[in-house]
Amino acid sequence: MPTDASAAERSGRLEVRKTYKLYVGGAFPRSESARSYEVTDAGGGFLANAAMASRKDARDAVVAARKAFAGWSGATAYNRGQVLYRVAEVLEGRRAQFVDEVSRGEGLTRDRAEQTVDAAVDRWVWYAGWADKVAQVLGSLNPVAGPYFDISAPEPTGVVAVLAPQRSSLMGLVSVVAPAIVTGNTVVVLASERRPLPAVTLGEVLATSDVPGGVVNVLTGRTAEVAPWLASHMDVNALDLSGAAVAEGVSWSALEAAAAENLKRVVRPAGTGGDAVEPDWWPTPGLERVRAFVETKTMWHPKGT
């Protein structure tokens, strides 16, 4: 993303621009389709050419997420919590870059962009702390009427496909990705179509924060083109449709219908009736998004001598 032109002139130095690519399986490939699309700032000015992911990229991302699932879900909750906290540390270190991207992409004042990035980092820390508490809060010891030890505990659902919010390109993104991965799910996230740059930068943060490759995979491109492939993919276990709100040419009901083919767990977009709206991401969330992507496993064992 070109920084302020006048700053470049003042320094008399030609800046080194970043190429925004996909983040899949811990690597940063271009789209296999070799397509890209122009990302502009809120005023229509050129920011970058982002990779335009294809069906093949989506499938590659699902393969990477599946491959990462056993390791990430099998890690101790303490370890996942530490890794996620490490992500917050690295996010904080990239604060200036995120402020730049968020303020230009979302058309926010610098102050507001700073507040947004700070809130996003804090949101990530909030979720990181849940890693080793979710099982205690959502699990139970069940007093069955018989000589049995009976316990219920949450486990991650599997591979979660996420349509990231279209408007809130960092705060919204963090608010949908963190609750999915904190319990051990792996994610394929389709970034905001018009504001994808913070998502790619988040990928760079994840790549340098001890998050195993494939745990989060970031796709950029046309939501209407890629989302149906994720919704109908038979190796995806859950689908978060939050980003279907205000996405061009996207019917969330068609995506939900496609998800029924293998009974994906579906988080519908906010709103009433057929309408989908992007919610305010600022209030402290509850556990709804964590709960949406866990399965409760109940185990019985007899007691006796």
Binding site: L138, S152, A254, E256, A260, L263, H301, P302
Partner: protein, 478 residues
Amino acid sequence: MPKFQYAPAPESRAVVDLKPSYGLFVDGGFVDPQSGTSIKSTSPATEEVLAEVAEAGAEDVDRAVRAARRAYDRTWSRLSGAERGKYLFRIARLIQERSRELAVLESLDNGKPIKESRDVDVPQAAAWFFYYAGWADKLEHAGLGPNPRPLGVAGQVIPWNFPLLMLAWKIAPALACGNTVVLKPAETTPLSALLFAEICQQADLPPGVVNIVTGAGATGQALVEHPDVDKVAFTGSTAVGKQIARSLAGTRKRVTLELGGKGANIVYDDAPVDQAVEGIVNGIFFNQGHVCCAGSRLLVQENVAEDVVDRLKRRLATLRVGDPLDKNTDVGAINSAAQLARITELAQAGEDEGATRWSPACELPSTGYWFAPTVFTGVSNTHRIAREEVFGPVLSVLTFRTPDEAVAKANNTPYGLSAGVWSDKGSRILWTADRLRAGVVWANTFNRFDPTSPFGGYKESGFGREGGRHGLEAYCAH
């Protein structure tokens, strides 16, 4: 080994007072259906017609949903949790008081052995109401936020394998959370739900809080797709579950689905063999194998496979198949001709695909729908009997060598409802249980249920949990 002879010990039918025909239970009373059509409920053990029940059409379903909405708006949602709970306690007590009548009726209509309806279905149904009754005034402690609210009208569709128990699983938590319900029992087993309607009357439950609409698939579809239903709860096949999920896509209705399964029952070489054999039998021959969480795939470690299968066959030779009302009966009748045809077809496929079929010598009654307990050995994961839900008394035996292989085979299915693990080594049990992608894992036991214990599937076995604190989530907005 000598086989003991048993004298017939039939439970008396006199306790059940069946009417020749039943209407729909709507708004607190029995009404004739506007559809004007009816279906016959028969005893699968004798093919005798037990009663005619109404077949609710779309207009009847609409009438029931409107009654449920009125009851929700005017009565039930305004009642305190404590008062709702007291109604549920009353219902629990009435089920206990009328338990023998319910058990006999259930065995008549469903074909299950009286010892199971008497000792499992009915007492568990009462226990479910008793358990959720106590939650009604404690919902703020359920971990669903400070003020969990009911969803509104719940449309509930239940299967024929545990008619009264599935009704209890659905209605008890729904009412405890402040919802009203319209419930459709299965086409072949509507009678205990209609007796439950009488129990609601005896409990003075406000009219419209519980409505029962009998009918077949079209009735269920009309209920699920009714625009004024806020919540859909379905127990049944994965195929129908997917249809429901599709038809509700794009709506704001909440859904929980409890669907099919192909449960793996893993027996390690250090398992207590005799207990394991009992568990295998209970896992697949309980309720004629008409159990979504049945242990229909036995995965036995190769070095003990021969011994386990030999003992299993000896044990199966002692099972008594026959009159569901006989107190000594272990395996009753297959619920319907259609289900018998399905089981027969899949068992034939097992033979055709090269597995070895075995059944104990047993005499089956000449009328009614019957299928002898059947074991297939030499089954591989690709066989249809290892992949498809038979929903009958048919066990597929596969073998494994290592724990990793056992887990891989157990998880090699789109289903994920139940699994069993048999071993005397605690760490091995826990290691295995952690890796099984199934909602319920029974270790050194099988087919245990309790109202405090959450039950439900992973993957294509559906979503949502029934039972325990988790079961409240399905009926609360939070």
